[in-house]
């Protein structure tokens, strides 16, 4: 289960690489040498913007979601539960934060386990019992253990770079056109590269969402390997599924980090959502329960 999800993530990341390569190839075919200069610039811009936020993810997300760090004395019971999972997983104790929001939800971030941060809405702390909360904590710490902040940063960088490249090149098409018109390029190859340039950003976003969905399934599986209790996380997800309130802030930039997506309800289709359908996740956990 975990191994399969990891393989699929690697496959999807490789898909990103192939897509990037296609874009570069298309740029070269269409624009000749002048297109090549764009690629390192685009990759550079994407790298700086994404990796800056990756490195400071714990602090950045705090300000973006309005989460407040809390100490052990503020909520000893929650800290006890988190300590249980750190013992089960062998991870260091993360920083803990609370978001004042009635919608039940939680997230984890941080560039590595040593800088991990997990946050809970006041809603989730009020509505969930011990076992459910333990499942949620295990899911969040599973993200930390699987280094999902890194995985999504890599995905975001490539998707960003592809978007920038194709954006710049489409602009060049309108304004400058092809510089080397007299070159004897094959017209079919030109049409294909044009199509690639236009569709690539869309494909990149779809790949990025697919990676995010795989990481969610993986985190569910890893969480069960920590608690050995699929029923806890399953009933927690049932609570989340039954609840229709949504976290107040709906910034797309941080949508993927929550345990239940605040955006997917209005998502165009399954191809673009950052989380697998919650009923599907519940069904997978149920099948694990019958195994144990």
């Amino acid at each position: 289960m975990q191994a399969a999800n990891r393989r699929k993530t690697i496959g999807l990341l490789m898909g990103m690489g192939v897509l990037m390569w296609c874009v570069v190839y298309a740029a070269l075919t269409y624009f000749g040498g002048s297109g090549a200069g764009i690629v390192p610039i685009a990759v550079g811009i994407a790298l700086i913007s994404v990796w800056g936020s990756y490195y400071g993810s714990d602090k950045l997300v705090l300000t973006m979601t309005g989460a407040k760090l809390i100490q052990e004395s503020d909520n000893p019971k929650l800290f006890d539960l988190i300590q249980e999972i750190t013992i089960a997983s062998g991870l260091p104790m993360p920083k803990v934060a609370v978001v004042i929001d009635d919608a039940p939800n939680a997230f984890a971030t941080g560039r590595n386990p040593e800088h991990a941060l997990i946050a809970f809405t006041t809603g989730i702390l009020d509505v969930m019992d011990r076992d459910q909360l333990q499942g949620v904590i295990a899911h969040e710490l599973a993200h930390v253990a699987n280094r999902d902040t890194l995985v999504s940063a890599v995905a975001a960088t490539t998707a960003g770079a592809i978007a920038i490249v194709s954006d710049m090149l489409t602009r060049m098409m309108f304004f400058g056109g092809r510089r080397d018109r007299d070159s004897n390029a094959n017209p079919i190859a030109l049409v294909i590269s044009l199509v690639i340039l236009i569709l690539a950003p869309l494909a990149a976003v779809m790949l990025k969402s697919a990676i995010s969905r795989k990481r969610e399934s993986l985190a569910d599986a890893t969480a069960v390997s920590f608690t050995r209790n699929p029923a806890g996380l399953r009933s927690a997800l049932e609570v989340l599924a039954a609840d229709s309130t949504v976290v107040q802030q709906r910034s797309t930039a941080v949508a993927h980090i929550w345990i239940e997506s605040p955006l997917d309800a209005k998502s165009v289709s399954k191809m673009f959502s950052t989380h697998p359908p919650i009923q599907e996740r519940i069904a997978v956990l149920k099948s694990m329960e019958s195994l144990g």
């Binding site: 006890d80 539960l81 300590q83 249980e84 013992i87 089960a88 997983s89 062998g90 011990r130 920590f226």
Partner: protein
């Protein structure tokens, strides 16, 4: 040219040796740390017990045999040192504590007291921590033992002075109770 290829081959082999050796050492250290974690949590539980026994005693004076069982089990648990001894004492104490909590069920005043409720929460989380530290230890022992027994890491086990480690197996009579299955 041959010299460069030769040097590269030697370097590759050296990297392989070092990584195998380090992996075994790392696994061994993780098992040690996991064992230390079990001891920390068992100590935490042992420290809770006198308080818990006193609280229950305040309401249920006539349950001396239950108290004695808990206290003897605690004494055994705090003196055990080997993996097998610790595991056996741990199982006994878990059993005795279950008896103590069952006694508490019969005294509504005790169950309602704030002191008992906070102790119960404390005990619940400690029991979970003990269980999770056992699970983490056993998982790591499993990876270490697999590494010691499988090729290629098995070739380096002697050199790294890493041997198979003992699993932490709790003797819990309740786990042994096979459910009755009838086919009619």
């Amino acid at each position: 040219m041959e010299l460069i290829i030769g040097l590269a081959a030697v370097a590759l082999i050296a990297v392989f040796f070092i990584s195998q050796y380090n992996r075994l050492i790392r696994l061994n250290i993780t098992v040690d740390e996991a064992w230390a974690q079990i001891e920390v949590q068992l100590k935490r539980r042992a420290d809770l017990i006198p308080n818990l026994v006193e609280t229950v005693k305040g309401y249920a004076k006539h349950e001396q045999s239950t108290f004695d069982a808990v206290i003897t089990a605690r004494a055994k648990a705090t003196t055990a040192s080997t993996v097998a001894d610790t595991a056996a004492a741990d199982g006994m104490l878990t059993q005795a504590l279950r008896g103590l909590l069952a006694v508490a069920e019969a005294y509504p005043d005790l169950k309602a007291s704030a002191n008992f409720m906070s102790l119960q929460e404390e005990l619940a989380t400690t029991e979970n921590k003990v269980a999770f530290s056992r699970q983490f230890y056993n998982d790591n022992v499993r990876s270490l033992n697999t590494a010691v027994k499988t090729i290629p890491s098995s070739f380096f086990a002697g050199f790294a002075k890493v041997t198979e480690r003992e699993f932490y197996e709790v003797e819990d009579p309740q786990d042994r109770n096979v459910p009755n299955v009838s086919f009619n």
